[in-house]
């Protein structure tokens, strides 16, 4: 008899405890987002594809087309071309294209970059319908970001008049 009463009371109490848990969740803020209308903010360590850091001084990228990233990349993802800019002795990137479908997100390109020009983007909507959708033009992305920030847009550097020697490197020796 006492065991029955004890069981009943303990059982009833456990039911109330369960109700307490759910009502606490009921008043908690919602964690789901309405996806196409709202986007998640990714955590700072999230690794998307790489993109250029916008240098606060120049309002543009820091890439000098040294191609260290293209050579380091184990999957031959990166193609960089650069020119010597007129008036200075420095090279500057003209195109910087990723073939993201090959990327394994190892991050060696970011680590090896001597000018710290690269970072991981927080882009996570990377699905596409064809392989062409996976080709990411990092310069175009930089221009879009500059537009969004109200900065002057990146313009292709003027090559040195005389020896406009464009070095093209398809990262590593490619297709073999």
């Amino acid at each position: 008899m006492t065991a029955f009463i004890k069981d009943t009371l303990i059982g009833f109490w456990s039911l109330l405890a369960g109700l307490g848990v759910t009502i606490r969740y009921f008043v908690k803020p919602i964690v789901t987002v309405q996806y196409p209308r709202e986007k998640l903010t990714m955590s700072p360590r999230y690794r998307g594809h790489t993109e250029f850091i916008i240098d606060p001084e120049t309002g543009s990228h820091l890439c000098n087309a040294c191609e260290n990233c293209a050579r380091t990349c184990p999957s031959n993802v990166i193609s960089v071309t650069g020119v010597k800019v007129a008036g200075t002795k420095k090279k500057r990137a003209v195109t910087y294209v990723l073939d993201y479908s090959l990327c394994s997100l190892c991050g060696l390109c970011v680590e090896v970059c001597p000018t710290k020009a690269l970072k991981f983007s927080d882009e996570y909507r990377l699905a596409g319908f064809s392989r062409q959708d996976m080709i990411i033009d990092v310069i175009a992305r930089l221009q879009a970001q500059q537009r969004a920030l109200g900065l002057p847009e990146e313009v292709p550097p003027v090559p040195e008049a005389e020896e406009a020697k464009t070095e093209e490197t398809k990262g590593g020796e490619g297709e073999s």
Partner: protein, 320 residues
């Protein structure tokens, strides 16, 4: 002649009012259930159709109307067709006696509460008809479970209602409301209120007592084979049943339409929907009982407790 006309008008207006209430109530409750479940699971729930998904149920209902009505090949056709109607009609009848406010009630019958209990039990017959005639093992299993669990919750349900009725000394719902002019019955009968809510949840076949439908075991239980509007009628009846059980609980224990400041009808609906919220809260908290657990709960806990409560009430009335 004039009497007939007046009665005809009364019946017509009542019927239209009740069907309107039933439909709007079901539309609202389905939306509310989805919202409650969503918020308990930290989701927003339906958000796309209308303001915060308010028109979602209407969209779903339109879709259901457009669906094909399937009758299984070897079904017992007549019973198969009748089952949704048998499910739905008793639900309508119960509205005759529910006092929404001092003036807003259809008929103040002497047998009020008895009428509601008598007709709400017919839902079990409808479930059995649906399960039997579908010629489907899952439907039949659901129907058998439903019939077997009936006694486990109907007896304590009636006994708890009885302990209120012997306090009041009347089966009339208006008398029961009148009795609670100063103090609500729930203060005299807290145990009966708890038992009534538990049995009422079982009466509406809702989780954790949704053994007849048991989605994860029996597909959809007794209405597995139903589609389109026939399924929608089962759904409608389920949600209307919730409303009726909550309305009866409000009348028996929470003082019916009584309450300060706000108009009586608003108070009545507030209390009813508060109890419905409680039932939804149960559903999204407790897992489904196993069948023997339900029978144990019914026979070993609910019935003894309700009997003890009835005897105590009777003694108290005799002494004071």
């Amino acid at each position: 002649m004039q009497f007939l006309l007046a009665e005809g008008a009364r019946i017509g207006i009542s019927l239209i009012g009740v069907i309107g209430l039933v439909s709007i109530n079901a539309l609202f409750l389905i939306w509310m259930e989805r919202k409650v479940s969503a918020h308990i699971q930290l989701r927003p729930g339906p958000m796309e159709v209308g303001f915060h998904g308010a028109l979602q149920t209407i969209a779903d209902a339109l879709k259901l109307i457009g669906k094909e009505l399937i009758t299984p090949e070897d079904a017992d056709k007549l019973i198969y067709l009748l089952a949704p109607i048998v499910m739905f009609l008793p639900v309508l009848v119960s509205f005759i006696v529910i006092p929404f406010s001092p003036t807003l009630l259809i008929r103040d019958l002497n047998v009020g509460i008895l009428l509601i209990f008598a007709f709400s039990t017919m839902a079990v017959l409808a479930i059995l008809m649906a399960g039997w005639s579908s010629n489907n093992k899952y439907s039949l299993l659901g129907a058998i479970r439903s019939v077997a669990q009936t006694i486990a919750y109907e007896i304590p349900l009636l006994i708890t209602a009885m302990s209120v009725i012997i306090m009041v000394g009347s089966l009339k719902l208006t008398d029961i409301v009148a009795y609670q002019a100063t103090v609500w019955n729930v203060l005299f009968q807290p145990l009966a209120f708890i038992l009534f809510i538990i049995c009422g949840t079982a009466e509406t076949n809702r989780a954790p007592f949704d053994i007849p439908e048991a989605e994860s075991e029996l597909v959809a239980g007794f209405h597995t084979e139903y589609s389109g509007m026939r399924f929608a009628i089962f759904f409608l009846a389920e949600y209307t049943n919730m409303f009726i059980v909550s309305a009866v609980a409000t009348v028996l224990f929470l003082g019916g339409w009584r309450g300060p400041i706000l108009p009586p009808l608003v108070w009545f609906l507030l209390k009813v929907y508060a109890i419905i919220f409680l039932m939804m809260w149960f559903r999204w908290t407790f897992p489904r009982l196993r069948f023997d657990q339900l029978i144990t709960l019914g026979w070993k806990i609910l019935i003894p407790l309700s009997l003890a409560n009835l005897i105590l009430t009777a003694l108290a009335i005799k002494i004071f």
